[in-house]
């Protein structure tokens, strides 16, 4: 099956405060492609340009140099139909619960659809569907936004994005500051969402476990450049690169590595806690006999 690119970024460069003594170069010639039906992870140290990059994907920042093509439309072109693009790309920044502004939860989810000329019934239906997708009961629409827990607010913010039925979802740190249960719920919602054909997802995270669990491919940014792009599993196998970039190895990978230094080699490719535990179990059983 021929995969179709939905976002293509070419040689994207961005400077903040350009032309002043305080100029900061944030992006240096980024090339990036997102295909339909995939989840792409973006990792990199703080200040490596991740958020600046995301802001280019729906035109919050227009390209200074290079180009961003979304559904084939160049965002460098000032006539690009941003309204259409922002409907098709749902975007959620860090700590989106701080951006909820309606008194009642349902109104916050309905805000997007109400701005797109839908009938009252269609809005209601969009809200109902979106809340169902994130696992919030429809009755929560009448709750006070302020009374929801952090995990519920985070899912409500996601519902607000889902309500516009986007084809691409762009999320910055979707699980940060959630408790383990809240994190699990958000990950399940995201996996469920992308099961429908024609949807793709970009996830920025410092949580390597999130990336390992979600992303098919991953880009590693460092100081505004792409220093790795490819299959996520291969990135995690490149211990030197990860450490050089200040990224953490997941616990199972650390265990595999430390044991191999001590003469116990486990099969490669096992990156889940359970998988590694099973293998260690077998090794210990073997040595006991």
């Amino acid at each position: 099956m021929q995969k179709k690119p939905v976002i293509e970024v070419r040689k994207l460069t961005h400077r903040y405060l350009a032309g002043t003594p305080l100029e900061v170069q944030s992006l240096r010639g980024i090339d990036f492609t997102l295909y339909t039906d995939e989840i792409v992870g973006i990792v990199g140290p703080t200040g490596s340009g991740k958020s600046t990059f995301l802001c280019h994907l729906n035109g919050l920042i227009r390209p200074q140099e290079g180009d961003v093509l979304v559904f084939g439309v160049s965002l460098a072109d000032s006539r690009a139909d941003m309204r259409m693009i922002r409907k098709r790309i749902g975007m959620l920044f860090q700590n989106p619960e701080q951006q909820l502004f309606e008194r009642f939860a349902g109104d916050d989810v309905a805000f997007g659809p109400r701005n797109y000329d839908l009938s009252k019934e269609e809005v209601r239906e969009a809200v109902r569907r979106a809340m169902e997708m994130v696992g919030l009961p429809f009755s929560y629409k009448d709750r006070l936004t302020a009374d929801l827990s952090l995990g519920e607010k985070r899912r409500l913010a996601l519902a607000g994005v889902f309500a516009l039925d986007p084809e691409i979802l762009v999320l910055d740190e979707p699980t940060a500051s959630l408790d383990p249960e809240g994190r699990r719920q958000v990950l399940e919602v995201l996996k469920g969402w992308r099961r429908e054909p024609g949807r793709s997802l970009i996830v920025v995270s410092h949580n390597m476990e999130d990336i390992a669990e979600l992303a098919d491919r991953t880009y590693l940014l460092s100081d505004g450049e792409v220093v790795y792009s490819g299959v996520t599993g291969k990135l995690f196998a490149d211990r030197e690169l990860l450490l050089r970039q200040g990224l953490a190895l997941t616990v199972p990978l650390q265990v595999v590595h430390r044991l191999s230094q001590n003469g116990i080699s486990l099969g490669k490719g096992n990156v889940s806690a359970r998988g590694v535990a099973e293998e260690i179990g077998s090794v210990l059983h073997g040595s006991a006999q």
Binding site: G47, S51, D179, A277
Partner: protein, 292 residues
């Protein structure tokens, strides 16, 4: 009264509700419900609990940002209800919140770090030294001239921590301060906290990362506004049933160990760190091989 000295932080029967005006006839929803807790000088305490369990509410009582609806909180024997002592309490207990934007006041990095001590009238030379040291501790020295609104989210968080450190508080309270940090900044922060604690500073931190909590000397577990469990990390996380029931998790090295133990009898399931787990595997194998 000949009483022995009270603990550094002394909390008795603390109740708090955000809904003070709720109908008089019904019980208000308690964000904290009858919490008593003592923390001694020099302790390293992690507070864990699901979202909404009362962690932030508890921490906000430690420097008088919130005062109890019922019960009392004393810091250094000062009651946080005592308006005369608010200044003393706030310069004793430094706070770092979850969202750094709420506490950055200046437009340039080093000015933000200098803001607190400058207002205390710290002399110029010392001020300089404090700012330099605080920026080094969090690894922001190269960005000291950067306008604060051109920092990334993680860098803002580090700045908020540096600005708390420049106040040289006796006690540092951090609410999810590492949540938006990259792994390197996070481990640098944890090392900084550890060495601050070694130098005698009391560290109290709320976190969702169980591996982070495992570094503390004591863990306090909150659920529905109550302390349901506390003690050494090994003790706390060995109560796996309770931990799971209140929607938390055990640190990953322990999860792996528990899984191994379920298959290999006699394997110890209480390893909190990767080091401990690896050592447990090596020791277990050596004993089995040599023992047979």
């Amino acid at each position: 009264m000949g009483e022995k000295s009270t603990p550094f932080i002394h909390i008795r029967n603390l109740r708090y509700t955000y809904n003070q005006t709720a109908g008089n006839d019904e019980a208000p929803p308690w964000a904290l419900n009858n919490v008593s807790l003592d923390i001694e000088k020099g302790e390293y305490v992690a507070v864990i609990g699901a979202n909404g369990s009362g962690k932030s509410t508890l921490l906000r009582h430690l420097n008088g940002l919130l005062v109890p609806s019922e019960g009392d909180v004393w810091v250094n024997s000062w009651n946080t209800r005592d308006a005369q002592r608010v200044r003393d309490i706030r310069s004793t207990v430094g706070m770092v919140f979850q969202s750094p934007d709420a506490q950055i006041v200046a437009t340039v990095v080093e000015e933000d770090v200098a803001f607190g001590p400058e207002n205390l009238g710290v002399p110029r030379d010392e001020l300089h030294e404090r700012v330099k040291r605080a920026l080094e501790q969090v690894g922001l020295e190269e960005l000291r001239k950067r306008p604060t609104h051109y920092l990334s989210a993680g860098q803002k968080q580090l700045l908020a921590i540096a600005s708390a450190l420049s106040m040289r508080p006796a006690c540092l309270v951090l609410d999810e301060a590492a949540a938006s940090l990259d792994p390197l900044s996070r481990s640098r922060l944890l090392q900084t906290l550890w060495s601050l604690n070694q130098s005698g500073i009391t560290v109290i931190t709320a976190t969702h990362r169980m591996d982070e909590a495992a570094l503390a000397k004591r863990i306090v577990v909150l659920s529905d506004g109550k302390i349901v469990l506390q003690g050494h990390p090994k003790h706390v996380f060995s109560q796996t049933d309770i931990i799971h029931r209140i929607k938390l998790d055990v640190p990953e090295p322990m999860k792996i160990a528990q899984h191994i133990a379920s298959r290999v009898s006699g394997f110890r399931a209480d390893t909190l760190t990767v080091d401990e787990l690896v050592n447990a595997v090596l020791t277990f194998r050596r004993i089995r091989v040599e023992g047979c």
